[in-house]
Symmetry: C2
Subunit: 198 residues, 2 copies
């Protein structure tokens, strides 16, 4: 397997983290993003959206960090990371949408503006982040893990990085007591790895 | 089953459309959105995000239109709508993220601004919509269906509504020749139903 990767990307870190947790490895490939290599034909043939990460495994070329988690879990992991029953798959899908929408446009976008000085609407990202963090914190007041009560799943891996990195976007995590316990549970998983900023 | 529903919502229509295509039915319940009923405690106990649609089936309370498609397909449909193999699940997950992110913040947001006069950044939504429609059109130049070559899946049902409704947001669909063939294939499926605007 090869993973097109960037060390500072929380989306790439989702894939690296799950690989480590399930004891698998991929060769990490880098792109020259400043030179726009991710928008050139060779890479667009791998991921037409021109985003990182992308995973190559045999004939498969797969973009989208949530989709990469689904693939790695179904193909290489213990079933508990993405169980097959309808309710578990639906609950996990709900958190994957939350990662692709609320988390991406909240704390992840605030971080892009502050850490990489990209032109984003920081006020809008900040208010989306606060709404998303409140919702998460309320959920974690009653659940140890996001989608399954007793076990972690790819839902936790999809949501964790940009929430834990929210400080990079000047978002204060102090008010959300239950988030910190969840961070600690994730960091205690066998095989856990961090990334720059965590 | 009960579905909290609004006839003009493309997200609710995703659930209604899949129910009809798989020959299942749900009681449709409405909320008084103008009075903020979706942000009150009784509904937040069903869907903490305060959004429609939400599905109630026995003990299950499930929000998020993509997650509802996953649940209905896994629980009630022929496996072809959401196959269990890793590659199909990953490809479909990639399109569900696309629906939750690019389609939601592109054509769906442009429509919210024009049709419901909500305060949105129309220029940003328009440019995201154009990028998303181009990508879709290129994909459909080479594929009959989004995630599986020969059969429709919940990926098509998640992406179709707000793409087909893009005209409501003053987005011109004429340049995208391959989209129209895909629309026609979806509309020819046994059990297809439309919604206002389609």
């Amino acid at each position: 397997m090869q993973l097109y990767d960037l060390d500072l990307s929380g989306n790439c870190y989702k894939a690296r983290l799950l690989l480590s947790l399930i004891g698998q490895r991929a060769d990490l490939l880098s792109l020259d993003l400043r030179a726009g290599e991710h928008k050139q034909a060779a890479y667009l043939a791998i991921n037409p959206r021109g985003q990182i990460p992308a995973l190559v495994d045999g004939e498969l070329r797969l973009g989208d960090s949530q989709a990469i988690l689904v693939y790695l879990a179904r193909r290489y992991a213990d079933e508990s990371w993405y169980p097959l029953d309808p309710i578990s798959q639906a609950r996990i899908a709900s958190w994957l949408s939350f990662a692709a929408n609320e988390i991406h446009h909240g704390p992840a976008t605030a971080r892009l503006g502050k850490l990489f000085a990209l032109p984003v609407d920081h006020d809008a990202a900040h208010s989306k982040a606060v709404a998303a963090l409140r919702l998460l914190d309320e959920h974690l007041a009653e659940h140890r893990w996001l989608a399954q009560g007793s076990l972690p799943s790819i839902a936790d891996i999809a949501v964790y990085p940009y929430v834990a990195l929210a400080g990079d976007g000047d978002i204060d995590l102090a008010p959300y007591a239950h988030l910190h316990g969840w961070f600690a549970r994730i960091r205690a998983l066998p095989g856990y790895i961090g990334m720059p900023g965590l």
